[in-house]
């Protein structure tokens, strides 16, 4: 079971709680069993380069504090990439704003953690735009100016056309039309925009 926990904790995109572990693992396992496995893991990794630690109501692998400088150096050379789930969430917000969390979840087909939204907010890429006028008055999310700056976009309309779904070689015979059309669009968009 210790090994199962290791695998789950590594793959998870947020700290994983005892409750979640119980749900995923065999239900016959008692909380006490799981808890003692967690303690064992914590001890095992205590002396290693990666630690198995309890944070924010769950468990996570983290680099050992002793190697902080080293990790910092790695990240200076290459900034970390966004996780896939963060990218998906950000993409939905960018293309479909203003949008509520429930709507994001419906599109992604999986739940979106508060931590993920907080991370994107902390990163300065998304913000609250207000509340939607439906029961429960959920928050509406949208992207920020910082998002445009960091992704080198002049305006939201510069986001790559999601209808580029038709892949370049799929439409050889349409290619000319498409590219002219796209150019026309961008010009039109700009001029429409300039008039505001």
């Amino acid at each position: 079971m210790k090994h199962q926990i290791e695998a789950i904790v590594l793959a998870s995109d947020e700290p994983i709680s005892l409750q979640k572990l119980r749900d995923l693992l065999d239900h016959k396992l008692s909380s006490a069993d799981i808890r003692s496995a967690l303690t064992e893991l914590q001890q095992h990794y205590q002396t290693r380069g990666i630690n198995f630690v309890a944070v924010a109501g769950g468990w996570q692998f983290r680099t050992a504090p002793a190697h902080a400088a080293l990790v910092q150096r790695l990240w200076q050379v290459k900034a970390p990439r966004l996780s896939r789930s963060a990218l998906e969430t950000l993409a939905i917000i960018a293309y479909r704003q203003p949008i509520t969390r429930a709507e994001i979840e419906a599109l992604r087909g999986v739940s979106v953690s508060s931590q993920m939204l907080a991370t994107l907010q902390e990163r300065g890429w998304i913000k609250l735009l207000g509340r939607k006028d439906v029961p429960g008055r959920p928050h509406l999310y949208g992207t920020t100016k910082q998002f445009l700056i960091d992704f080198s976009l002049n305006e939201l309309n510069d986001l790559p056309d999601s209808s580029q779904l038709l892949d370049d070689h799929e439409t050889t015979n349409n290619a000319n039309i498409t590219s002219t059309a796209t150019m026309a669009t961008q010009q039109n968009l700009r001029s429409t925009h300039g008039q505001q």
Partner: protein, 258 residues
Amino acid sequence: MNATAHIPFKQANQEAHALPAVHLDQFDGPLDILLHLIRSQELDIFDIPLAMITQQYLDILETQTDMDLEDSYLETAGDYLVMASTLMQLKSRLLLPRPEMDEAGNAVDPRSELAAQLLAYEQYRLLAEGLNERPLMQRDVFTRCVFPEADDVQRPLAQADLDALLLAFRQILKRRSGEVRHQIFTETISMREQMSVVLQRLRKGSLQLDELLRDTPGREALVTTVLAILELWRQQSIIVLQGEHCTAITLLNNDGNT
């Protein structure tokens, strides 16, 4: 239904094997069928009994014609027919009174090219299976996907990657419309047609983009419609208006009155 029950065996010395009925969509192309026929009857790939194999191959193709044809079959029907004619051509070449010679004057078996092609194909089929058995990311193995923080490490800022963002969005769209996508692909929607549909609908007055796209089924139709709108716009047949960022987009006929 037994596809092979009525095979006329032209070569009396060929032992008849009862082949289990097969359906075309179990196969991945004509080479796949031929290999199946050869391997399941334990035939020598360098000495293929062409008359028998050709007949069995045609029988498999024939059993499909009555059925509700699969889209995938229609797309590749040509490939299956090309193979049928290749087989028949080989058969006729074998019947020539004088064997074919290469430059060195050695007899050439017209079937050797086919045999080589089949072997190469079989090889790649095996390699593909081997590939499928490897631990595949997101299926068999997973890596971490959050930054592993440590207490003394300042959380680094993630890098912005526009391509990755677009890819992520496409994948979501694909995930959502994956089911519809397949059906739509068989009938190609022409952009011209879609352009007249759009104009037709705008004749009754302005429409919002969402309204226009709402009842467009499937990804292909959606994309075609969007392309049609762009083309109409480029030709200045329609006018496209957007009040503010991220608000509704309105489409109008550009007939001079509006």
